[in-house]
Protein backbone atom coordinates (compact mmCIF):
# COMPACT_ATOMS: atom_id res chain seq x y z
CA UNK A 1 0.00 0.00 0.00
CA UNK A 2 2.63 2.40 1.08
CA UNK A 3 4.83 1.84 -1.95
CA UNK A 4 1.97 2.57 -4.31
CA UNK A 5 0.53 5.48 -2.42
CA UNK A 6 3.66 7.49 -1.91
CA UNK A 7 4.55 8.19 -5.55
CA UNK A 8 0.89 8.87 -6.26
CA UNK A 9 0.58 11.63 -3.68
CA UNK A 10 3.94 12.84 -4.89
CA UNK A 11 2.61 13.09 -8.41
CA UNK A 12 -0.50 14.89 -7.25
CA UNK A 13 1.62 17.27 -5.23
CA UNK A 14 3.86 18.25 -8.11
CA UNK A 15 0.98 18.38 -10.54
CA UNK A 16 -0.77 20.84 -8.25
CA UNK A 17 2.37 22.93 -7.86
CA UNK A 18 2.90 22.96 -11.62
CA UNK A 19 -0.69 23.97 -12.15
CA UNK A 20 -0.45 26.82 -9.67
CA UNK A 21 2.82 27.99 -11.20
CA UNK A 22 1.41 27.85 -14.71
CA UNK A 23 -1.61 29.84 -13.57
CA UNK A 24 0.57 32.48 -11.90
CA UNK A 25 2.82 32.81 -14.92
CA UNK A 26 -0.16 33.13 -17.24
CA UNK A 27 -2.13 35.75 -15.34
CA UNK A 28 0.59 37.61 -13.42
CA UNK A 29 4.08 37.21 -14.74
CA UNK A 30 3.56 37.26 -18.51
CA UNK A 31 1.45 40.45 -18.57
CA UNK A 32 4.00 42.15 -16.31
CA UNK A 33 6.84 41.08 -18.60
CA UNK A 34 4.87 42.27 -21.63
CA UNK A 35 4.57 45.76 -20.11
CA UNK A 36 8.31 46.01 -19.58
CA UNK A 37 9.01 44.56 -23.02
CA UNK A 38 6.72 47.04 -24.78
CA UNK A 39 8.29 49.93 -22.88
CA UNK A 40 11.89 48.99 -23.59
CA UNK A 41 11.97 46.91 -26.80
CA UNK A 42 13.06 49.96 -28.79
CA UNK A 43 15.77 50.75 -26.28
CA UNK A 44 15.90 53.08 -23.32
CA UNK A 45 15.78 56.29 -25.36
CA UNK A 46 12.04 56.37 -26.14
CA UNK A 47 11.45 55.61 -22.47
CA UNK A 48 13.66 58.47 -21.27
CA UNK A 49 12.11 60.76 -23.83
CA UNK A 50 8.63 59.87 -22.57
CA UNK A 51 9.71 60.52 -18.99
CA UNK A 52 10.86 64.01 -19.96
CA UNK A 53 7.44 64.90 -21.33
CA UNK A 54 5.76 67.70 -19.40
CA UNK A 55 2.40 65.93 -19.48
CA UNK A 56 3.93 62.77 -18.06
CA UNK A 57 5.57 64.63 -15.22
CA UNK A 58 2.38 66.42 -14.30
CA UNK A 59 0.49 63.09 -14.42
CA UNK A 60 3.05 61.56 -12.09
CA UNK A 61 2.74 64.53 -9.76
CA UNK A 62 -1.04 64.37 -9.71
CA UNK A 63 -0.95 60.62 -9.03
CA UNK A 64 1.23 61.22 -5.98
CA UNK A 65 -1.05 64.06 -4.85
CA UNK A 66 -4.07 61.74 -5.09
CA UNK A 67 -2.32 59.24 -2.82
CA UNK A 68 -1.18 61.98 -0.42
CA UNK A 69 -4.75 63.20 -0.03
CA UNK A 70 -6.60 59.92 0.20
CA UNK A 71 -4.20 57.75 2.21
CA UNK A 72 -4.03 59.92 5.40
CA UNK A 73 -7.75 60.74 5.32
CA UNK A 74 -8.80 57.13 4.84
CA UNK A 75 -6.28 55.87 7.40
CA UNK A 76 -7.72 58.11 10.11
CA UNK A 77 -11.28 57.39 9.06
CA UNK A 78 -10.60 53.66 8.73
CA UNK A 79 -9.08 53.46 12.20
CA UNK A 80 -12.01 55.29 13.79
CA UNK A 81 -14.54 53.16 11.93
CA UNK A 82 -12.74 49.94 12.81
CA UNK A 83 -12.53 50.92 16.48
CA UNK A 84 -16.22 51.75 16.69
CA UNK A 85 -17.30 48.62 14.83
CA UNK A 86 -15.03 46.14 16.58
CA UNK A 87 -15.43 47.42 20.14
CA UNK A 88 -19.11 48.27 20.28
CA UNK A 89 -22.41 46.58 19.74
CA UNK A 90 -25.13 48.97 18.68
CA UNK A 91 -28.29 48.87 16.59
CA UNK A 92 -27.43 49.41 12.93
CA UNK A 93 -23.94 47.98 13.25
CA UNK A 94 -24.51 45.43 10.49
CA UNK A 95 -25.89 48.17 8.27
CA UNK A 96 -22.86 50.35 8.96
CA UNK A 97 -20.60 47.46 8.00
CA UNK A 98 -22.31 46.92 4.67
CA UNK A 99 -22.37 50.64 3.93
CA UNK A 100 -18.63 50.64 4.53
CA UNK A 101 -18.29 47.94 1.87
CA UNK A 102 -20.24 49.88 -0.77
CA UNK A 103 -17.13 51.11 -2.59
CA UNK A 104 -16.13 47.46 -3.09
CA UNK A 105 -19.46 46.46 -4.57
CA UNK A 106 -20.16 49.57 -6.65
CA UNK A 107 -18.45 49.62 -10.03
CA UNK A 108 -15.88 52.46 -10.17
CA UNK A 109 -17.53 53.88 -13.29
CA UNK A 110 -20.82 54.12 -11.44
CA UNK A 111 -19.01 55.75 -8.53
CA UNK A 112 -17.61 58.36 -10.92
CA UNK A 113 -21.02 58.97 -12.43
CA UNK A 114 -22.55 59.44 -8.95
CA UNK A 115 -20.00 62.18 -8.31
CA UNK A 116 -20.84 63.79 -11.65
CA UNK A 117 -24.55 63.64 -10.82
CA UNK A 118 -23.92 65.25 -7.47
CA UNK A 119 -21.24 67.81 -8.26
CA UNK A 120 -21.79 68.30 -12.01
CA UNK A 121 -22.95 71.60 -13.46
CA UNK A 122 -26.57 70.47 -13.22
CA UNK A 123 -26.02 68.29 -10.17
CA UNK A 124 -27.63 68.56 -6.73
CA UNK A 125 -24.69 70.25 -5.02
CA UNK A 126 -22.75 71.22 -8.12
CA UNK A 127 -25.03 74.08 -9.05
CA UNK A 128 -24.46 75.59 -5.60
CA UNK A 129 -20.69 75.35 -6.01
CA UNK A 130 -21.01 76.73 -9.53
CA UNK A 131 -22.71 79.84 -8.18
CA UNK A 132 -19.56 80.40 -6.08
CA UNK A 133 -17.46 79.67 -9.14
CA UNK A 134 -15.88 76.61 -7.54
CA UNK A 135 -15.09 73.82 -9.97
CA UNK A 136 -15.41 70.36 -8.39
CA UNK A 137 -15.58 67.83 -11.20
CA UNK A 138 -13.18 67.98 -14.12
CA UNK A 139 -10.62 69.32 -11.67
CA UNK A 140 -8.53 68.06 -8.76
CA UNK A 141 -11.20 68.17 -5.99
CA UNK A 142 -13.55 65.87 -7.92
CA UNK A 143 -10.73 63.46 -8.67
CA UNK A 144 -9.74 63.42 -5.01
CA UNK A 145 -13.34 62.68 -4.00
CA UNK A 146 -13.45 59.79 -6.47
CA UNK A 147 -10.14 58.40 -5.18
CA UNK A 148 -11.23 58.71 -1.55
CA UNK A 149 -14.47 56.93 -2.38
CA UNK A 150 -12.90 53.89 -4.02
CA UNK A 151 -10.20 53.51 -1.35
CA UNK A 152 -12.47 54.07 1.65
CA UNK A 153 -12.90 50.53 3.04
CA UNK A 154 -9.36 49.13 2.84
CA UNK A 155 -7.97 50.26 6.23
CA UNK A 156 -11.15 49.53 8.18
CA UNK A 157 -11.57 46.15 6.50
CA UNK A 158 -8.02 45.12 7.36
CA UNK A 159 -8.09 46.40 10.94
CA UNK A 160 -11.53 45.15 12.06
CA UNK A 161 -10.66 41.39 12.05
CA UNK A 162 -7.39 42.05 13.92
CA UNK A 163 -9.20 44.08 16.58
CA UNK A 164 -11.90 41.45 16.90
CA UNK A 165 -9.40 38.63 17.27
CA UNK A 166 -7.42 40.64 19.80
CA UNK A 167 -10.37 41.16 22.07
CA UNK A 168 -10.70 44.03 24.56
CA UNK A 169 -8.82 42.29 27.42
CA UNK A 170 -5.45 44.03 27.06
CA UNK A 171 -7.11 47.41 26.68
CA UNK A 172 -9.26 46.82 29.74
CA UNK A 173 -6.21 45.75 31.70
CA UNK A 174 -4.47 48.96 30.69
CA UNK A 175 -7.49 50.95 31.77
CA UNK A 176 -7.62 49.36 35.21
CA UNK A 177 -3.95 50.24 35.53
CA UNK A 178 -4.91 53.87 34.98
CA UNK A 179 -4.05 54.47 31.34
CA UNK A 180 -5.84 57.27 29.50
CA UNK A 181 -7.75 56.53 26.25
CA UNK A 182 -5.03 58.05 24.13
CA UNK A 183 -2.33 56.08 25.95
CA UNK A 184 -4.30 52.86 25.51
CA UNK A 185 -4.61 53.47 21.79
CA UNK A 186 -0.99 54.47 21.30
CA UNK A 187 0.68 51.90 23.57
CA UNK A 188 -1.65 48.90 23.48
CA UNK A 189 -3.95 48.91 20.48
CA UNK A 190 -1.73 50.39 17.79
CA UNK A 191 1.23 48.03 18.32
CA UNK A 192 -1.13 45.10 18.12
CA UNK A 193 -2.89 46.13 14.94
CA UNK A 194 0.14 47.56 13.15
CA UNK A 195 0.36 44.79 10.53
CA UNK A 196 -3.27 44.97 9.63
CA UNK A 197 -3.09 48.75 9.54
CA UNK A 198 0.06 48.77 7.44
CA UNK A 199 -1.42 46.35 4.98
CA UNK A 200 -4.58 48.46 4.76
CA UNK A 201 -2.53 51.60 4.12
CA UNK A 202 -0.55 49.85 1.37
CA UNK A 203 -3.71 48.63 -0.33
CA UNK A 204 -5.18 52.14 -0.08
CA UNK A 205 -2.06 53.62 -1.60
CA UNK A 206 -1.88 51.10 -4.43
CA UNK A 207 -5.49 51.63 -5.35
CA UNK A 208 -5.26 55.42 -5.03
CA UNK A 209 -2.39 55.49 -7.51
CA UNK A 210 -3.82 52.91 -9.86
CA UNK A 211 -7.49 53.84 -9.94
CA UNK A 212 -8.75 54.46 -13.44
CA UNK A 213 -12.51 54.04 -13.82
CA UNK A 214 -13.93 56.44 -11.25
CA UNK A 215 -11.21 59.05 -11.73
CA UNK A 216 -11.42 58.94 -15.53
CA UNK A 217 -15.14 59.76 -15.39
CA UNK A 218 -14.61 62.92 -13.32
CA UNK A 219 -11.24 64.06 -14.71
CA UNK A 220 -12.12 65.53 -18.09
CA UNK A 221 -8.66 64.27 -19.13
CA UNK A 222 -7.11 67.70 -19.54
CA UNK A 223 -3.50 67.04 -20.52
CA UNK A 224 -0.99 68.24 -17.97
CA UNK A 225 -3.75 69.31 -15.61
CA UNK A 226 -6.25 66.62 -14.68
CA UNK A 227 -4.64 63.45 -15.96
CA UNK A 228 -3.17 60.91 -13.56
CA UNK A 229 -0.77 58.18 -14.67
CA UNK A 230 -3.48 55.59 -15.47
CA UNK A 231 -5.34 58.20 -17.56
CA UNK A 232 -2.09 59.22 -19.21
CA UNK A 233 -1.44 55.58 -20.14
CA UNK A 234 -4.82 55.31 -21.83
CA UNK A 235 -4.47 58.64 -23.66
CA UNK A 236 -1.02 57.85 -25.02
CA UNK A 237 -2.07 54.36 -26.05
CA UNK A 238 -5.07 55.71 -27.93
CA UNK A 239 -2.81 58.20 -29.66
CA UNK A 240 -0.56 55.35 -30.86
CA UNK A 241 2.25 56.48 -28.51
CA UNK A 242 2.85 52.90 -27.43
CA UNK A 243 6.28 53.47 -25.89
CA UNK A 244 5.09 56.44 -23.82
CA UNK A 245 2.01 54.51 -22.68
CA UNK A 246 3.96 51.47 -21.57
CA UNK A 247 6.73 53.64 -20.17
CA UNK A 248 4.19 55.27 -17.86
CA UNK A 249 2.82 51.82 -17.04
CA UNK A 250 6.33 50.78 -15.99
CA UNK A 251 6.56 53.82 -13.72
CA UNK A 252 3.21 52.87 -12.16
CA UNK A 253 4.48 49.35 -11.60
CA UNK A 254 7.68 50.70 -10.04
CA UNK A 255 5.64 52.88 -7.67
CA UNK A 256 3.92 49.68 -6.54
CA UNK A 257 7.30 48.01 -6.05
CA UNK A 258 8.48 50.98 -3.96
CA UNK A 259 5.51 50.61 -1.61
CA UNK A 260 6.21 46.88 -1.30
CA UNK A 261 9.85 47.54 -0.47
CA UNK A 262 8.79 50.12 2.11
CA UNK A 263 6.53 47.53 3.66
CA UNK A 264 9.38 45.00 3.81
CA UNK A 265 11.69 47.54 5.46
CA UNK A 266 9.05 48.47 8.01
CA UNK A 267 8.38 44.82 8.74
CA UNK A 268 12.07 44.11 9.29
CA UNK A 269 12.60 47.13 11.50
CA UNK A 270 9.61 46.51 13.72
CA UNK A 271 9.71 42.73 13.44
CA UNK A 272 12.49 42.45 16.06
CA UNK A 273 10.34 44.02 18.73
CA UNK A 274 7.53 41.64 17.98
CA UNK A 275 8.45 39.11 20.66
CA UNK A 276 6.06 40.59 23.21
Amino acid sequence: MLTINLPKTFKVKYLLIALALFYLILVLLLPAIAVFYEAFHKGVEPFIQAMGDRNFQSALQLTVVMALISVPLNTVFGLCAAWVLARNQFPGRALFLSVLDLPFSISPVVAGLMIVLLYGKNGWIGSWFASWDIQIIFSVPGMAIATIFVTLPFVAREVIPVLEELGPEQEEAARTLGAKDWQIFWRVTLPNIRWGLLYGVLLTNARAMGEFGAVAVVSGSILGKTSTLPIFVEQEYKNYQTEAAFGAAVVLALLAVVTLVLKEILEQRTGHHKAV
Binding site: F138, G224, T226, Q235
Partner: protein, 312 residues
Protein backbone atom coordinates in the same frame (compact mmCIF):
# COMPACT_ATOMS: atom_id res chain seq x y z
CA UNK B 1 -3.18 89.95 -19.12
CA UNK B 2 -2.28 86.46 -20.35
CA UNK B 3 -5.19 84.38 -21.62
CA UNK B 4 -5.84 80.72 -20.94
CA UNK B 5 -8.00 78.66 -23.30
CA UNK B 6 -9.36 75.16 -22.84
CA UNK B 7 -9.74 73.15 -26.02
CA UNK B 8 -11.91 70.04 -25.87
CA UNK B 9 -11.65 67.78 -28.87
CA UNK B 10 -11.81 64.16 -30.03
CA UNK B 11 -8.88 61.80 -29.82
CA UNK B 12 -7.40 61.78 -33.32
CA UNK B 13 -7.11 65.57 -33.64
CA UNK B 14 -4.40 65.67 -30.98
CA UNK B 15 -1.42 65.47 -33.33
CA UNK B 16 -2.80 68.30 -35.45
CA UNK B 17 -3.65 70.61 -32.54
CA UNK B 18 -0.33 70.00 -30.81
CA UNK B 19 1.33 71.45 -33.92
CA UNK B 20 -1.20 74.20 -34.62
CA UNK B 21 -1.39 75.65 -31.10
CA UNK B 22 2.28 76.76 -30.79
CA UNK B 23 2.05 78.43 -34.20
CA UNK B 24 -1.08 80.30 -33.18
CA UNK B 25 0.25 81.42 -29.80
CA UNK B 26 3.39 82.72 -31.48
CA UNK B 27 1.46 84.63 -34.10
CA UNK B 28 -0.97 86.03 -31.52
CA UNK B 29 1.88 87.16 -29.30
CA UNK B 30 3.62 89.03 -32.12
CA UNK B 31 0.36 90.60 -33.23
CA UNK B 32 -1.09 91.68 -29.88
CA UNK B 33 1.66 91.14 -27.31
CA UNK B 34 -0.64 88.89 -25.28
CA UNK B 35 0.48 85.49 -23.99
CA UNK B 36 -1.92 82.61 -24.58
CA UNK B 37 -1.72 79.19 -22.96
CA UNK B 38 -3.87 76.20 -23.85
CA UNK B 39 -5.34 73.39 -21.78
CA UNK B 40 -6.19 70.43 -23.98
CA UNK B 41 -8.50 67.49 -23.46
CA UNK B 42 -8.91 64.63 -25.93
CA UNK B 43 -11.27 61.66 -25.84
CA UNK B 44 -14.21 60.04 -27.60
CA UNK B 45 -16.38 62.71 -29.20
CA UNK B 46 -19.51 61.53 -27.41
CA UNK B 47 -17.95 61.43 -23.95
CA UNK B 48 -16.25 64.80 -24.50
CA UNK B 49 -19.65 66.28 -25.38
CA UNK B 50 -21.13 64.81 -22.23
CA UNK B 51 -18.29 66.24 -20.14
CA UNK B 52 -18.82 69.76 -21.52
CA UNK B 53 -22.55 69.52 -20.79
CA UNK B 54 -21.71 68.30 -17.26
CA UNK B 55 -19.46 71.28 -16.62
CA UNK B 56 -16.04 70.75 -18.21
CA UNK B 57 -15.16 74.40 -18.87
CA UNK B 58 -14.26 74.38 -22.54
CA UNK B 59 -13.67 77.58 -24.47
CA UNK B 60 -13.52 75.85 -27.82
CA UNK B 61 -14.89 72.49 -28.87
CA UNK B 62 -13.79 70.65 -32.00
CA UNK B 63 -15.83 67.47 -32.28
CA UNK B 64 -16.38 64.56 -34.64
CA UNK B 65 -20.04 65.22 -35.38
CA UNK B 66 -22.19 68.32 -35.75
CA UNK B 67 -24.82 66.52 -33.68
CA UNK B 68 -22.42 66.55 -30.73
CA UNK B 69 -22.10 70.35 -30.95
CA UNK B 70 -25.89 70.50 -31.23
CA UNK B 71 -26.17 68.62 -27.95
CA UNK B 72 -24.06 71.31 -26.27
CA UNK B 73 -26.26 73.89 -27.97
CA UNK B 74 -29.39 72.18 -26.57
CA UNK B 75 -27.85 72.33 -23.10
CA UNK B 76 -27.73 76.12 -23.52
CA UNK B 77 -23.95 76.48 -23.56
CA UNK B 78 -23.57 77.43 -27.22
CA UNK B 79 -25.81 80.02 -28.85
CA UNK B 80 -27.84 78.85 -31.87
CA UNK B 81 -26.33 79.94 -35.15
CA UNK B 82 -22.78 78.80 -34.31
CA UNK B 83 -22.55 77.29 -37.80
CA UNK B 84 -22.41 80.81 -39.25
CA UNK B 85 -19.75 82.15 -36.89
CA UNK B 86 -16.79 80.57 -38.66
CA UNK B 87 -15.96 80.01 -42.33
CA UNK B 88 -17.24 76.97 -44.24
CA UNK B 89 -20.27 76.44 -41.99
CA UNK B 90 -17.85 75.98 -39.05
CA UNK B 91 -16.62 72.72 -40.60
CA UNK B 92 -12.86 72.72 -40.14
CA UNK B 93 -11.87 69.26 -41.44
CA UNK B 94 -13.27 66.57 -43.69
CA UNK B 95 -12.66 62.89 -44.02
CA UNK B 96 -14.17 59.95 -45.87
CA UNK B 97 -14.67 56.24 -45.22
CA UNK B 98 -11.76 53.97 -46.06
CA UNK B 99 -11.75 50.18 -46.54
CA UNK B 100 -8.71 48.76 -44.78
CA UNK B 101 -7.70 45.32 -46.02
CA UNK B 102 -4.98 42.81 -45.27
CA UNK B 103 -2.06 42.27 -47.60
CA UNK B 104 -2.22 38.54 -46.84
CA UNK B 105 -5.85 38.18 -47.97
CA UNK B 106 -6.79 37.27 -51.53
CA UNK B 107 -10.24 38.73 -51.19
CA UNK B 108 -10.84 41.77 -53.36
CA UNK B 109 -12.79 44.61 -51.79
CA UNK B 110 -13.00 47.76 -53.91
CA UNK B 111 -16.61 48.79 -54.03
CA UNK B 112 -19.39 48.96 -51.47
CA UNK B 113 -21.16 46.07 -53.20
CA UNK B 114 -18.17 43.82 -52.40
CA UNK B 115 -19.06 44.07 -48.69
CA UNK B 116 -22.13 41.91 -49.31
CA UNK B 117 -20.00 39.06 -50.62
CA UNK B 118 -20.64 36.24 -48.12
CA UNK B 119 -16.94 35.36 -48.10
CA UNK B 120 -15.98 38.78 -46.76
CA UNK B 121 -15.95 39.37 -43.03
CA UNK B 122 -16.62 43.05 -42.29
CA UNK B 123 -15.45 44.84 -39.13
CA UNK B 124 -17.39 47.96 -38.20
CA UNK B 125 -18.28 49.34 -34.79
CA UNK B 126 -21.78 49.45 -33.33
CA UNK B 127 -23.58 52.62 -34.49
CA UNK B 128 -25.52 52.64 -31.23
CA UNK B 129 -22.35 53.53 -29.32
CA UNK B 130 -19.91 54.80 -31.94
CA UNK B 131 -20.23 58.05 -33.85
CA UNK B 132 -17.87 56.77 -36.52
CA UNK B 133 -19.94 53.67 -37.07
CA UNK B 134 -22.95 55.88 -37.82
CA UNK B 135 -21.07 57.27 -40.79
CA UNK B 136 -20.21 53.72 -41.84
CA UNK B 137 -23.86 52.70 -41.75
CA UNK B 138 -24.91 55.80 -43.71
CA UNK B 139 -22.19 54.87 -46.22
CA UNK B 140 -23.59 51.36 -46.57
CA UNK B 141 -27.12 52.72 -46.92
CA UNK B 142 -26.24 55.63 -49.22
CA UNK B 143 -24.15 53.45 -51.51
CA UNK B 144 -27.51 52.04 -52.64
CA UNK B 145 -29.96 54.92 -52.28
CA UNK B 146 -27.64 57.61 -53.65
CA UNK B 147 -26.66 55.55 -56.69
CA UNK B 148 -30.16 54.94 -58.00
CA UNK B 149 -31.24 52.09 -55.73
CA UNK B 150 -34.46 51.92 -53.72
CA UNK B 151 -34.80 51.86 -49.94
CA UNK B 152 -35.84 48.19 -50.11
CA UNK B 153 -32.61 47.36 -51.92
CA UNK B 154 -30.64 49.39 -49.38
CA UNK B 155 -32.35 47.48 -46.57
CA UNK B 156 -31.42 44.16 -48.18
CA UNK B 157 -27.85 45.28 -48.78
CA UNK B 158 -27.38 46.57 -45.22
CA UNK B 159 -28.68 43.24 -43.94
CA UNK B 160 -26.14 41.33 -46.01
CA UNK B 161 -23.25 43.53 -44.89
CA UNK B 162 -24.16 43.36 -41.19
CA UNK B 163 -24.62 39.58 -41.49
CA UNK B 164 -20.97 39.56 -42.58
CA UNK B 165 -19.92 41.33 -39.38
CA UNK B 166 -18.79 38.74 -36.82
CA UNK B 167 -18.85 41.31 -33.97
CA UNK B 168 -19.93 44.92 -33.48
CA UNK B 169 -17.21 46.51 -31.28
CA UNK B 170 -18.20 49.47 -29.15
CA UNK B 171 -16.04 52.15 -30.76
CA UNK B 172 -13.73 52.84 -33.66
CA UNK B 173 -10.59 52.19 -31.67
CA UNK B 174 -11.85 48.84 -30.44
CA UNK B 175 -12.81 47.81 -33.96
CA UNK B 176 -9.26 48.70 -35.06
CA UNK B 177 -7.90 46.43 -32.31
CA UNK B 178 -10.28 43.63 -33.31
CA UNK B 179 -9.03 43.92 -36.90
CA UNK B 180 -5.28 44.38 -36.37
CA UNK B 181 -4.51 42.74 -33.04
CA UNK B 182 -7.03 39.91 -32.95
CA UNK B 183 -6.79 39.39 -36.69
CA UNK B 184 -10.53 39.13 -37.24
CA UNK B 185 -12.24 40.10 -40.51
CA UNK B 186 -11.04 40.86 -44.05
CA UNK B 187 -12.06 44.50 -44.28
CA UNK B 188 -12.28 47.24 -41.68
CA UNK B 189 -14.47 50.29 -42.22
CA UNK B 190 -12.70 53.28 -40.74
CA UNK B 191 -12.14 57.00 -41.21
CA UNK B 192 -9.49 57.85 -43.77
CA UNK B 193 -7.78 60.13 -41.21
CA UNK B 194 -7.60 57.31 -38.61
CA UNK B 195 -5.99 55.06 -41.20
CA UNK B 196 -3.47 57.76 -42.14
CA UNK B 197 -2.70 58.45 -38.48
CA UNK B 198 -2.12 54.75 -37.79
CA UNK B 199 0.10 54.67 -40.88
CA UNK B 200 2.20 57.56 -39.55
CA UNK B 201 2.62 55.66 -36.29
CA UNK B 202 3.87 52.60 -38.10
CA UNK B 203 0.71 50.49 -38.56
CA UNK B 204 0.96 50.10 -42.29
CA UNK B 205 -1.97 48.34 -43.93
CA UNK B 206 -3.29 48.57 -47.49
CA UNK B 207 -6.48 50.59 -47.81
CA UNK B 208 -8.67 51.99 -50.54
CA UNK B 209 -11.11 54.88 -50.63
CA UNK B 210 -14.30 53.60 -52.25
CA UNK B 211 -14.89 55.84 -55.27
CA UNK B 212 -18.35 54.73 -56.38
CA UNK B 213 -19.86 56.46 -53.35
CA UNK B 214 -18.66 57.97 -50.10
CA UNK B 215 -19.79 60.23 -47.28
CA UNK B 216 -18.16 63.49 -46.32
CA UNK B 217 -17.30 63.16 -42.63
CA UNK B 218 -17.09 66.71 -41.40
CA UNK B 219 -15.68 67.91 -38.09
CA UNK B 220 -17.19 71.12 -36.66
CA UNK B 221 -15.57 73.69 -34.38
CA UNK B 222 -17.43 76.07 -32.07
CA UNK B 223 -16.83 78.56 -29.28
CA UNK B 224 -18.61 77.69 -26.02
CA UNK B 225 -20.40 80.94 -25.31
CA UNK B 226 -21.13 80.54 -21.60
CA UNK B 227 -17.47 79.88 -20.71
CA UNK B 228 -16.24 82.69 -22.91
CA UNK B 229 -18.77 85.17 -21.58
CA UNK B 230 -17.76 84.26 -18.03
CA UNK B 231 -14.06 84.69 -18.69
CA UNK B 232 -14.72 87.78 -20.76
CA UNK B 233 -12.12 87.52 -23.52
CA UNK B 234 -13.88 86.52 -26.67
CA UNK B 235 -11.35 88.08 -28.99
CA UNK B 236 -8.55 85.51 -28.69
CA UNK B 237 -10.98 82.59 -28.93
CA UNK B 238 -12.57 83.87 -32.09
CA UNK B 239 -9.09 84.49 -33.45
CA UNK B 240 -8.10 80.89 -32.75
CA UNK B 241 -11.18 79.53 -34.49
CA UNK B 242 -10.46 81.76 -37.49
CA UNK B 243 -6.83 80.64 -37.45
CA UNK B 244 -7.89 77.01 -37.89
CA UNK B 245 -9.13 77.93 -41.37
CA UNK B 246 -5.90 79.62 -42.50
CA UNK B 247 -3.68 77.81 -45.04
CA UNK B 248 -1.02 77.26 -42.30
CA UNK B 249 -3.40 75.41 -39.98
CA UNK B 250 -5.12 73.59 -42.84
CA UNK B 251 -1.73 72.40 -44.03
CA UNK B 252 -1.13 70.80 -40.62
CA UNK B 253 -4.55 69.14 -40.66
CA UNK B 254 -3.70 67.77 -44.11
CA UNK B 255 -0.37 66.43 -42.86
CA UNK B 256 -2.05 64.64 -39.95
CA UNK B 257 -4.59 62.80 -42.07
CA UNK B 258 -7.56 65.15 -42.43
CA UNK B 259 -8.90 66.40 -45.75
CA UNK B 260 -8.41 70.17 -45.59
CA UNK B 261 -11.41 72.43 -46.26
CA UNK B 262 -9.17 75.07 -47.81
CA UNK B 263 -9.23 74.51 -51.60
CA UNK B 264 -5.63 75.53 -52.25
CA UNK B 265 -4.26 73.26 -49.54
CA UNK B 266 -6.48 70.45 -50.77
CA UNK B 267 -5.09 70.90 -54.28
CA UNK B 268 -1.57 70.57 -52.91
CA UNK B 269 -2.43 67.25 -51.29
CA UNK B 270 -4.46 65.96 -54.24
CA UNK B 271 -2.42 62.76 -54.59
CA UNK B 272 -2.88 61.83 -50.93
CA UNK B 273 -6.59 62.62 -50.92
CA UNK B 274 -8.11 61.28 -54.16
CA UNK B 275 -11.25 63.14 -55.08
CA UNK B 276 -14.51 61.23 -54.67
CA UNK B 277 -17.12 62.23 -57.25
CA UNK B 278 -20.22 60.85 -55.59
CA UNK B 279 -19.79 62.35 -52.15
CA UNK B 280 -22.81 62.79 -49.86
CA UNK B 281 -22.92 65.18 -46.92
CA UNK B 282 -25.08 64.63 -43.86
CA UNK B 283 -27.51 67.24 -45.23
CA UNK B 284 -28.42 64.78 -47.97
CA UNK B 285 -29.66 62.46 -45.24
CA UNK B 286 -31.70 65.33 -43.80
CA UNK B 287 -29.12 66.55 -41.25
CA UNK B 288 -28.00 64.75 -38.09
CA UNK B 289 -31.19 65.26 -36.10
CA UNK B 290 -33.31 63.56 -38.74
CA UNK B 291 -30.73 60.87 -39.59
CA UNK B 292 -30.28 60.01 -35.92
CA UNK B 293 -34.01 59.53 -35.40
CA UNK B 294 -34.59 57.71 -38.67
CA UNK B 295 -31.61 55.36 -38.57
CA UNK B 296 -30.24 54.92 -35.08
CA UNK B 297 -32.88 55.62 -32.45
CA UNK B 298 -34.85 52.80 -30.82
CA UNK B 299 -36.82 51.00 -33.55
CA UNK B 300 -35.02 52.85 -36.35
CA UNK B 301 -33.68 51.40 -39.59
CA UNK B 302 -30.55 49.95 -37.96
CA UNK B 303 -32.65 48.10 -35.36
CA UNK B 304 -34.94 46.78 -38.10
CA UNK B 305 -31.98 45.48 -40.11
CA UNK B 306 -30.55 43.76 -37.03
CA UNK B 307 -33.92 42.21 -36.17
CA UNK B 308 -34.30 40.96 -39.71
CA UNK B 309 -30.93 39.24 -39.91
CA UNK B 310 -31.44 37.91 -36.38
CA UNK B 311 -34.57 36.11 -37.53
CA UNK B 312 -32.92 34.34 -40.41
Amino acid sequence: APANLTLVSYAVTRDAFEKIIPKFTEEWKSKTGQDVTFEQSYGGSGSQTRAVVDGLEADIVALALSSDVQKIESAGLIQPGWEQEAPNGSIVTNSVIAFVTKASDNIKVEKWADLANPEVKVITANPKTSGGARWNFLGIWGSVTKTGGTEEQAFDFAGKVLANAPVLPKDARESTDVFYKQGQGNVLLNYENEVLLAKQKGENQPYIIPQDFNVSISGPVAVVDTTVDKKGTREVRDAFVQYLFTPEAQQIFAETGFRPVNEEVLAKFASQYPKVENLATIEEFGGWKKAQAEFFDEGGIFDKVITKIGRQ
